[in-house]
Symmetry: C2
Subunit: 644 residues, 2 copies
């Protein structure tokens, strides 16, 4: 059973429950070779805080230890109390061409030795396998996974996505596995990609698999043991990793770092202060394989803590963009994410701290993509005489700049748009996440400058501004200021509120929310809107942190009346609605349906199956997740709608 | 006394000798506040391996402890055996507007308490100080530094470069300080730049200072205590750092990381495994300021070890390019390095491992700049019917690609140039550092693609290829192959050797080196040239690692005869030449003069003051360094020229 606790897009911090305890994900499972324990399982738990480990059931099955594992059970045989995953021999099939065990034998064996999680004997596809061959491997893998249900006992099954580099087969395999009641999904056949630095292909494979996999099960990226890929894989929704690398690299005299690998024979300084490295000399690491293995494990585990903290702080993208500078092939993988932005955007719910631009790739983060898409689809500019295009500024919306725009807006009947690295920004959005919270270099690279120009033209071409004159640059300000005065400050509040309402809730929302006598309660200090009252009712608030509206119950009622289902709706069953009416959160298992346009952190209407408004709140999941998850909060309710 | 042990351009690993021991640089000096010891000096040495610390003499002078420090001496008073640097109160002048001590008083006090290194009371310039004011500050600083000579006793003086943001004043101040016999140079007035994230200005200030400073003294970047800037500052030639940040940040609840700062109240995971963090919970770090300060110091010291190892491995540029993605203002600073590439190139001697492209900034590394400059100045293409421009490849010179080019070259009377991210590469250079050892992404960003095109046109415009037809792309190969056959394989070796000889040693070198009966000894496996014999003499070898020639004595004799002084010469005095003739290295203190065009790692002719050839070898320093340094090797001699 898996629960999502925190998220950053597809990336998540979760809890995986097993009979031997709870694992916090993303988690690294050290590979333990029972016949050659470089670090004992007991020490893995005690010294390294390892929560779960993985070993190879096929190797045990083939060894002299087989009977001992059957007699004692795997936990006693390995002297480890926590959850244990076992592998089936599928990887040995890749290495040696064949295995001597059947799916039935190995699944039954894993159940018999009492593994918590055990892999079906999937069929490994090589990256250069033909489509035909991969199809066969996928169908056989699916058949074996279904077969395994019969023999599993208490074993949580691990079902592996295969399909080689045929992305439609990956997605097909993943969909097939989603329909089978297993515990963990794995993505297999990727070790050759990592060995060959084919990280762009690895990204495509993970995304194709994730597209087909149901989102409520943890995903194990088989064989990814080097921390160089952890951040990227977590960003794409991988939850479990296994590392044999910590030992294998050490035995080969290689020191793992978060940005690569260093041969210990070339070590003159110790670029680490983990318990194994602190006080160590280069000679110590050269002479002591166990110590080097300890370092390799510490640095690998540490990278996952860095990743988790980045999820928690809301800067996982920045972390991944930095880490992808570790190798040009990782940079290719990062650039390749642009191809998947539409899929990733569905899961994006990031409202973090400041957005840091790290390079031209930053412009294509899902959060920026969504901003542009919603502007294009949901925003209508005011009818004015013309539009002024202002140059990009480092922080487009510093207070001074904002004041300049306000003056312009109040004194001339014109509209203004600012070029930004992330795309054009109409003046109404001068405080809105993500652009208002972004920091970009003064000196932007050519690719971003051109992208910004293309995005601006695309935006203007949609015809919004065809009605007026277009001025470029700050020099035009004087020309504008001699024109007839434009809307008043109050009109500007109105326009800002209308623009934002439609942007957040869709076309028509502004008319519904703001019909009547509107009062804007503003911050004395910043003159920014804080609350919106209509006919005396508190309809909307504005969060200072991201400049976005939060929905009050009175606002929810207006939207519910004006916008037809399924717009903005999260439909809950009868078991849930009474507590939601009392203001309690919506749990995913009670969700019947959900508007497919909603994204994590969007404001939502919680309704009954007969479309009565039950509450307003903020989504934590998207539609796919609400319908799949059995555990966890789907909507954080802000205000319930009590039955009168 | 300072000695350079290893280098990466301006960056260096050095040894600073003091009466209380040797310090390996780059080094971080923790700031110790005697009246509030968060970590005792003893623990700094014992737990953290700190070699040198810094404290503020002005604060001690003002305190009740003054007499105790005078009586006991600073080493006993602080209970620290190693070298101690003291500051003068100049920074307090910045913070409080004035100080209550005179230069004479504070210099004498520092000498009296027995500090190893002590700062002159320089005049702090603010970033927005006028030119006039900065001029006065610089002149007063220089006057005080000269004055201090009288009072210094055994104190090694620290003289600080001021000048605000007026770069010519910075250089002028630095030149003035270079003429005064002090021990350490410092760059001051930079804390406001770091506090304001003005890292691009910081880069300009460091470079302007370094241009004026003699290279044989260590350079202390005053107030740079956050590891986020260490790599960049070392790359620009800074050797010493001081950190009060480890304590101050801790007292303010901030955890330092190599990529930024995290508030401990927002800490949910521990992104570190240093001795202070290993086993710690977020709550531990929130509750225990000392523990947090320990972490902050561990992570700061660790970053310098990472930097030193990067110098040792030859990938400091990659490290800095990655770290500069920590903040958009650091990215601006990285982009700003392009303005200083000519200065940096003079010090560049990097032949490391593989060159990793991390973004459009990588194209402007000094090592790539030198490659392009030397091609433009020293390379003459063969007279052929035309030139084929081939598209860039991921690794431009994979074996297959190389074979294709060779075939083309042998079968058609044409020449070929490959576009690369780093600039155009004539076919003769298909194994030469840095392009042949570079890895770039498949998907290059627009800025690099355009830069590559501009560089190609610039190269072609020089007229080299005006004599022939120009073909573009691989499609032209067929057209070419039906033309008359071109030079034979032997001719190709000849052309390759000629091109490379002129590229490395300058125009005319090929004629001098290769006149006579030439034999190319080639690798059986790769068919690459290994040795060049002329008239039976071994003239040149080729290093497999970087595809460059090394000079044998017979070759040196030919160059010495053909190229007039000072070309390629390092002139040594009479004391040195006998041992150099025996094959011993040239030490900098014996160098009388040096060709200003030579760069670290260039092949050189060691000659006597009467221009007799004494030895051939490889430079370790450039001219400025050879003339300045009193310690260290200037030329690694390969072969001496014994007196007959």
């Amino acid at each position: 059973m898996f629960e999502m606790k925190e998220r950053a897009g597809l990336g998540r911090i979760g809890e995986l429950r097993t009979a031997h305890g709870v694992v916090e994900t993303p988690a690294l499972m050290p590979v333990v070779n029972p016949s050659n324990l470089v670090i004992t399982p007991k020490d893995l738990a005690r010294m390294f805080g390892v929560q779960i480990l993985i070993t190879n059931a096929y190797i045990i099955w083939k060894s002299a230890d087989r009977q001992r594992f059957l007699d004692e059970g795997i936990h006693r045989a390995l002297d480890f109390d926590g959850p244990i995953m076992t592998d089936s021999g599928a990887f040995q099939q890749h290495v040696y061409g064949r295995v001597e065990v059947s799916n039935e034998e190995i699944v039954k064996f894993q159940a018999a030795i009492g593994a918590d999680l055990g892999a079906v004997l999937d069929v490994f596809s090589e990256p250069d396998d033909s489509r035909r061959r991969c199809e066969e491997a996928v169908e056989e893998t699916l058949r074996r996974t279904r077969d395994a249900l019969e023999w599993r006992g208490d074993l949580g099954l691990v079902g592996t996505v295969q399909g080689g580099l045929h992305m439609d087969l990956r997605e097909h395999c993943a969909k097939g596995l989603s329909d089978i009641p297993i515990a963990v999904h794995a993505i297999g056949g990727v070790v050759p990609l990592m060995e060959g630095y084919q990280f762009a292909d690895l990204v495509d494979v993970i995304v194709a698999s994730k597209k087909g996999l149901r989102p409520d099960r943890p995903v194990h990226l088989f064989g990814a043991g080097h921390p160089i890929t952890f951040g990227l894989a977590v960003l794409l929704g991988c939850d479990l990793f296994d590392s044999a690398a910590y030992v294998k690299y050490a035995q080969d005299g290689r020191m793992i770092t978060a940005w690569g690998t260093t041969r210990v024979e070339g070590l003159a300084h110790i670029p680490c202060s983990c318990p194994a490295c602190h006080d160590a000399t280069p000679e110590d690491l050269r002479a002591d394989t166990e110590r080097l293995a300890q370092h390799n494990l510490y640095v690998s585990l540490q990278e996952l803590e860095v990743v988790k903290q980045a999820i928690h702080e809301g800067n996982l993208w920045e972390h991944v963009e930095r880490r992808c500078r570790a190798h040009p092939s990782l940079l290719d993988a990062l650039k390749g994410l642009r191809d998947h932005v539409d899929f990733m955007e569905r899961y994006e719910g990031l409202v973090g701290g400041t957005l840091f631009y790290t390079g031209p790739e930053s412009v294509w983060r899902p959060v920026a993509h969504r901003f542009r898409q919603r502007l294009l689809k949901r925003y209508s500019p005011p009818r004015v005489e013309g539009v002024l295009i202002l140059p990009e500024a480092r922080r487009p919306y510093t207070r001074a700049y904002s004041k300049l725009l306000r003056t312009l807006f109040e004194r001339a009947n014109a509209h203004a748009i600012v070029r930004s690295a992330f795309g054009p920004v109409p003046v109404e959005f001068d405080g809105v996440y993500p652009v208002a919270q972004s920091v970009v270099p003064d000196d932007l690279d050519l690719e971003t400058v051109e992208a910004s120009e293309v995005l601006l033209r695309q935006f203007l071409r949609r015809g919004y501004f065809s009605q007026g004159v277009m001025w470029e640059g700050e020099d035009s300000l004087e020309e504008l200021s001699i024109r007839a005065p434009g809307p008043s400050a109050t009109d500007m509040d109105k326009q800002r509120a209308e623009a934002l309402a439609n942007y957040q809730f869709g076309p028509g929302a502004a008319d519904a929310l703001l019909e009547g006598e509107v009062e804007y309660v503003k911050s004395k200090k910043t003159q920014k809107i804080r609350n919106v009252l209509v006919d005396g009712d508190h309809v909307l608030s504005m969060r200072a942190r991201d400049g976005l509206f939060t929905l009050k119950l009175a606002g929810g009622k207006r939207l519910h009346k004006a916008l037809p289902a399924p717009k903005l709706r999260v439909v809950v069953n009868e078991e849930s609605s009474p507590s939601n009416r009392e203001g309690k959160n919506v749990f995913a298992k009670f969700v019947v349906d959900c508007d497919g346009e909603l994204r994590p952190l969007d404001e939502v209407l919680v309704v009954s199956e007969t479309d009565e408004l039950v509450a307003v709140g903020r989504a934590v999941m998207n539609r796919e997740e609400m319908l799949a998850f059995e555990r966890g909060v789907a909507v954080k309710v802000r205000e319930g709608s009590p039955l009168l």
